[in-house]
């Protein structure tokens, strides 16, 4: 029997099915086995089981960590792939490792920031329509660095890259957080809680700190609700309706929306980063 033919001639839904149950590092390894699998894996929207992405910035280096989860028997396991991009001489070094292996590649005349950007783009493509559960930007080194100004510029360039690539996902997350905040506020106000009690309730919510900048825009709405006014948004948004309408077009493909989406996502990220600086 021709095993190669068998592998390549698996029906496409079967290939997708197999990929759905593979951890991310296995998907990458499978993509390297042959042209057919590589091409198949690079079809957009494969919905691979990528659950978390963490980006860490440092001096002349950055790190990308990709976490995926997969079922093994009755257990749910996780798999973490870590890639570090580092400036070395006139080129860069890429160090990648997971729980099973570690490797290093030196690339002459390559910019480590460009490589990082390319890999992020690939990751975004492979994630498809899957929901990312966790996205973390860690700039601890950035705060401690002596070359703060240089790193700030570098970081802003990265931030732009991230928002360009991930804008839609971040925007969706940000919108859900805003919907949640408004629901909490509404419930508390309608239950006649005092402003101090409301603050106490909200302080127990882990995302509240990240949304303080948005909360300021809700002051009029809160006041109106306290005075028994209608529940319409004073900030010109009706988030509940947006969230319940899956077909709403927030597509990044629309040039007009893209700016808005990127801008809001960037604001959201800035909020998170400001918090970290404190």
């Amino acid at each position: 029997m021709d095993l190669k033919a068998c592998l390549e001639h698996l029906p496409e839904p079967a290939k997708r099915n197999v990929l759905m149950w593979c951890p991310y590092s296995s998907v990458i390894a499978l993509g390297k086995t042959c042209t057919a699998w590589r091409e198949f894996i690079h079809i957009p929207n494969q919905n691979l089981p990528i659950k978390r992405i963490m980006v860490k910035f440092g001096e002349n280096c950055s790190r990308l960590q990709v976490g995926s989860s997969f079922a093994s028997g009755k257990n749910q396991n996780s798999n973490l792939l870590s890639v570090q991009y580092q400036l070395v001489g006139g080129g860069c070094a890429v160090i990648y490792e997971n729980s099973l292996s570690r490797g290093q590649k030196k690339l002459e005349s390559e910019d480590y920031q460009d490589l990082f950007k390319e890999d992020l783009k690939i990751l975004r493509k492979l994630l498809g329509n899957s929901i990312l559960e966790y996205f973390e930007v860690d700039c601890e080194t950035f705060q401690c660095s002596m070359q703060r100004r240089n790193l700030k510029n570098q970081f802003e360039s990265f931030l732009k890259t991230i928002t360009d690539i991930w804008a839609y996902s971040i925007f969706m997350l940000y919108r859900r957080m805003r919907v949640n905040l408004k629901a909490r506020l509404r419930r508390a106000i309608l239950n006649k809680k005092t402003p101090m009690e409301i603050e106490k309730i909200l302080s127990r919510w882990e995302f509240h700190e990240n949304l303080k900048f948005y909360r300021k825009t809700l002051e009029k709405w809160e006041k109106s609700l306290r005075n028994g006014g209608s529940d319409t948004s004073e900030d010109g948004e009706n988030l509940e309706d947006e969230d319940g309408t899956e077909e709403m077009d927030f597509s990044c493909e629309t040039v007009e929306n893209q700016g808005i989406v990127a801008s809001e996502a960037e604001d959201s990220l800035r909020g998170l980063l400001e918090l970290r600086k404190k």
């Binding site: 068998c6 197999v18 499978l30 079922a71």
Partner: protein
């Protein structure tokens, strides 16, 4: 000992009830092999179920079913799996279709992992042709399980891929290439 969680979901095959005698039909593979199977087992295949229903609706006697795209050896494996699962509720397999986490019962795990990878691929392909959801789920999950923790080289060997992947020199993507 408390029963396993999965055993509650997926009923174990039992002996046919005396009141419902097995209705045996002949099934012919693409290479001319003739096998026998219980109609209840064949009903796990949506494709064959539609054909059987067509015969029943027209009150035509069903003597032989022809499966034109599956060879004898693979068809035998398919029928063995179907025979084992003929008492299952088809809704369970449908519900498992889009689940990210499914548990492969021990009989199926043993049945699928003992097969050489080439036969497993043939079985999955046949399951798709015949539209047998449960077999598709377990077959694909078994392939994914076998790929876990393997390096590219090990996968190439496992899946019988002789040609190494050549890196395009122009690409800037690192860990992906």
């Amino acid at each position: 000992m408390a029963p396993k969680k999965n055993s509650a979901k997926r009923p174990q095959p039992s002996t046919p009830k005396p009141s419902a005698p097995a209705r045996i039909v002949k099934v012919q593979s693409s290479d001319g092999h003739i096998l026998q199977a219980d109609v209840r087992a064949l009903l796990l295949s949506s494709t064959l179920a539609a054909t059987i229903k067509g015969y029943d609706d027209e009150n035509k006697p069903l003597e032989k079913l022809e499966v034109n795209n599956v060879v004898g050896f693979t068809l035998k494996l398919v029928l063995e799996w179907c025979e084992k699962h003929k008492e299952d509720d088809p809704a369970i397999a449908q519900a498992e279709k889009d689940k990210k986490n499914i548990f492969i019962p021990s009989w199926d795990r043993h049945f699928l992992t003992k097969l050489p990878m080439g036969n497993l691929f043939d079985l999955i392909t046949a399951a798709y042709h015949l539209d047998i959801t449960g077999l598709i789920n377990y077959g694909c999950k078994t392939v994914a399980n076998s790929a876990k923790g393997k390096s590219t080289e090990e996968m190439r060997e496992l899946f019988g891929i002789p040609e190494p992947w050549e890196q395009p020199s122009t690409s800037t993507a690192t860990w992906d290439d």
